[in-house]
């Protein structure tokens, strides 16, 4: 079947197309080139004149699946009671809000024009659960970043001086075994150090048992990811999250990686200075400058927005330290399987609270001071800074200076006075939003057939009516197509399809690394190595998800 989207204003930064009026043709779930269209008319045509067309949006860092999300769900029944979602049309019942049920999360993402989301904290030991939950998230393509850096196997390798090649094999084996597309490190070594009762771990501080430092861990993992040709750079949640003064740690982290590609996630939480009477200040200018100067660095923001949410993180060390801020006062910390940990702390960001209001400013400052939209990504670190449903509001803050300044005038006055936000004139364009939420995200993940509208791309497409109120515009697309199927009309799901799992499979010496891993599992673990590895049937067996393997550098 041939589908034609006629006469829309197309924003396709991957091809440098900036608001040109074009027709788009879809056949068998893919976008096809105009010269492949027969003279016969399309079977189906959508009049997109006066409308904006972009690829489906990609959330490159969102906690949508895995143990800690379900802990958050169990921790906060009141979150769901406040937002019941009835069965309706093709949609099953569920619940929002900050830790929504998987079904509801999928519908809500699609209704905003998102067609892919990536879970950034997949504990390899818990990867099965992450995949099972992501598989139950309809309408969304998914993928995960496997967490390493506090797992005992890696720390033993590093502390015993293992060769980089061995570490590379282990990293590759982990990507294969956990069916992930990238590697994440969270508080490098810190989750493990907390199990040894260390309460903080600075970049150059030694782990009490292993003697290794976060700097060494980052270098080793970033090198492995790079040498394996993994498209996504090492995804780093740095040391000292949330600690005033962590700006210096972040700058040192950037310097310490010595030019290797590195992605700094939810960088807002890592951009705090200690100036002023309250010893808490914005480090956004220095951070943005460092990103601008270092082309090997990318970042997503982790913007906070005001209201109740829940923070769910692998960083058990810092989540334990922050539990005194829990709102409501209940929280979970876990040590997990000599692999990692997690902490789940509900949180309420208040606009009149000095620190929260300044966090809000810091995030926006970073967005606006980083020059290159290909290297900065729109995230709230869902749900840690705010639930993903706030994205249209965030887009308006970036695109509409007068709206931003109106909001600024409502927050804590001391925070507003300390921030440079009011003086920043920049307004993001639709083209730049399309880079941040589509083309850039696909490029940084190595998704060749997503995030763009060129021939051969998957027909994940969102059509909006252009409006001055960008929040309204991005809340309710006219049409969303998933793999060529019309799934959303006027902001409502009309058809439910299931997404794909995106992975990579770098080459490595399986026999060599398994000769170390098998006895390790037998001797120390509570499961066998063969049962740890996630096989393809586990993902594809029920006929919903398909695995899409993207090439690493140097592969096919």
């Amino acid at each position: 079947m041939l589908t034609k989207l006629t006469g829309g204003k197309v924003y396709d930064p991957a091809h440098g197309i900036n608001g040109e009026v074009r027709d788009i043709y879809i056949r068998d779930g893919r976008i096809i080139a105009h010269h492949h269209v027969d003279t016969v008319g399309p079977d189906q045509e959508f009049d997109c004149r006066g409308k904006v067309i972009m690829a489906g949006a990609i959330d490159m860092h969102t906690h949508i699946g895995g143990g800690k999300v379900t802990i958050a769900r169990n921790l906060l029944p009141e979150d769901h009671r406040g937002d019941p979602v009835a069965r309706s049309g093709p949609m099953r019942a569920g619940a929002g809000y900050v830790a929504p049920s998987t079904l509801t999360a999928g519908y809500r993402y699609a209704e905003m024009g998102y067609t892919a989301g990536f879970e950034p904290a997949v504990l390899p030991i818990n990867a099965r659960q992450a995949h099972m939950e992501m598989a139950d998230t309809p309408l969304l393509d998914v993928g995960g970043y496997a967490m390493l850096g506090s797992d005992d196997f890696f720390l033993r390798l590093l502390s015993s001086g293992a060769e980089q090649e061995v570490i590379n094999d282990y990293v590759a084996w982990t990507l294969h075994s956990s069916q992930c597309i990238g590697i994440k490190v969270v508080n490098p070594g810190g989750i493990s150090a907390f199990k040894f009762n260390q309460r903080k771990l600075d970049l150059d501080e030694a782990h009490r048992y292993y003697g290794v430092t976060p700097r060494g861990i980052l270098q080793s993992l970033a090198r492995a990811v790079h040498e394996l040709g993994v498209p996504h750079p090492l995804h780093v949640h740095g040391c000292n999250l949330g600690v005033p003064g962590n700006l210096d740690t972040t700058l040192n982290t950037i310097a310490g990686i010595e030019g290797l590609p590195m992605h700094l996630t939810h960088i807002q939480f890592h951009s705090y200075g200690t100036e002023g009477d309250r010893k808490f200040s914005s480090g956004a200018a220095q951070i943005a400058e460092a990103i601008n100067k270092n082309p090997n660095i990318t970042a997503d923001v982790g913007q906070i927005l005001f209201g109740q949410t829940v923070t769910a993180s692998g960083d058990s060390m810092m989540q334990y330290a922050n539990h005194t801020h829990a709102h409501p006062n209940k929280w979970v910390c876990m040590d997990i399987e000599c692999d990692a940990g997690c902490g789940v702390v509900p949180f309420k960001y208040k606009d009149k609270n000095f620190v929260n209001a300044l966090q809000w400013c810091i995030g926006l400052e970073i967005f606006l001071l980083v020059d290159d939209p290909w290297r900065i990504f729109l995230t709230t670190d869902h749900p840690n800074g705010a639930p993903f449903t706030t994205y249209p509001h965030l887009i308006r803050l970036l695109m509409d200076r007068s709206f931003r300044n109106d909001m600024l005038s409502t927050i804590n006055v001391d925070s507003a006075a300390l921030s440079t936000l009011a003086s920043i004139e920049r307004e993001y364009t639709l083209y730049e939003i399309a880079i941040m939420t589509r083309a850039g995200a696909a490029r940084i993940l190595g998704l060749h057939d997503r995030g763009h509208l060129g021939a051969g791309a998957a027909a994940d497409i969102t059509v909006y009516t252009e409006q001055d109120d960008k929040e309204a515009m991005f809340t309710r697309p006219d049409y969303v197509f998933k793999d060529g199927e019309l799934v959303v009309r006027n902001g409502e799901v009309i058809k439910v399809v299931w997404g794909n799992l995106h992975t990579i499979r770098p080459e490595f010496d399986r026999a060599s690394i398994e000769s170390r891993l098998r006895p390790y599992f037998d001797r120390y673990h509570t499961m066998k190595m063969d049962n740890f590895i996630i096989r393809d049937w586990e993902i594809e067996g029920d006929g919903r998800s398909k695995i899409m393997v993207h090439p690493c550098r140097g592969q096919g």
């Binding site: 019941p84 009835a86 019942a93 818990n126 659960q129 099972m132």
Partner: protein
Amino acid sequence: MPDTQPKVFENVPSPFCGIASDDLKIEVSGLKVRVIAGGDAVTRRGFEQPITDLFPRLSGRQASLEQATEEAARVLKDARLPVFSGFGTDVNETRAALSLIDRCRGVFDQSRAEAGLRNLLVLADSGWMTTTLAEVRNRVEVLVVFGVDIEASFPRFFERFVWPEATLFDEDTRQREVIFIGATPSGTAANAPDGRVPKVIPCEKESLPQVAAVLSALAGGARLQAETVAGIALSELQGVVDRLQSASYSVITWAASQLAFAHAELTVQQLCKTVVALNRDTRCAGLPLGGQDGDRTASQVSAWISGYPTRVSYARGYPEYDPYHFGAERLLESGEADVLVWVSSLSTSPPPVVDVPTIVIGRTGMTFEREPEVFIPVGVPGIDFQGHMYRCDNVVALPLYQLRESTLARAADVLAGIEARL
């Protein structure tokens, strides 16, 4: 012709025990399954239960799968409030059940929910700090076992997690200390390899809440006037707290199913408060034991699909959670529920005898005091089909493998078949 040559499978995970031992060696000859290594009372019973029923029955009369599915759908179509319970199932089967429950506006409960809720209520009220089995195996220095005879329900717990030969951190496991409070081990599994017996501080079951409260108070630094608690010298409990404070990594474990008294969640909460208090200066973690017969699996799947872990009603078209009102037993006794659907592919535990129409999608071999209106025997995930199950720590999900070729239906297909006919 069935293949009768015996086949041997290694590293087989057990869906039956909450600790999910996955080192079993299993021999299959035709339809006969035998655990030949790594077995214990729980896993042998689970794996070796023979296939008896092959055909569905309608009120005791043999019927085809088609007829039984049709009849189940007819009963559900007429139902005002069907309640679903049982739930020894794997992940896919629970998914299918929740889809059907959503469709027919039913209630999801689990026969083990009462025990699970003793933990879940604490999690939702104050949270907790917990650990998982591999951390216990490699780190535990002092293990406090509170109110539970572990080896009765988890026969291999001590062998696998407390007395391994080696640990990651070169700890001499022979030096590990085990302290039982309010329970006495029924066997010798808790004895150290050199024969050293665990410390046992006995008390009556009804005193456990009081003892937990005192442990929590002492860990929090309170000074108590009393000299004895539940017949235990206060100094003895102070000694336990002191030992936990001096340990670099201690674990307090309990099994909610064995804390069968009113408001046991408050006792669990005191244990969790003790753990949190100890973490001010050192490391300590809780370990809630459970997860037999798919208990954790169904609860986890329900949590991510509905937002709530168990006792979820879809009667109003959206999920609602009420740990009291949506208990199957209460709904059946009060007459609110007019159909019982019992789903259990892992265990042959039958449904309760009730006077409403009963549909059973149950493991072959289930026997009934009152023959249900619909009985559809099904195969077992982990024996007859591939699948997934959760361990008691809610973190590790294990793959389950198909070991034999039977003609038994799969519960997930049966449930989907019923839904398709609604």
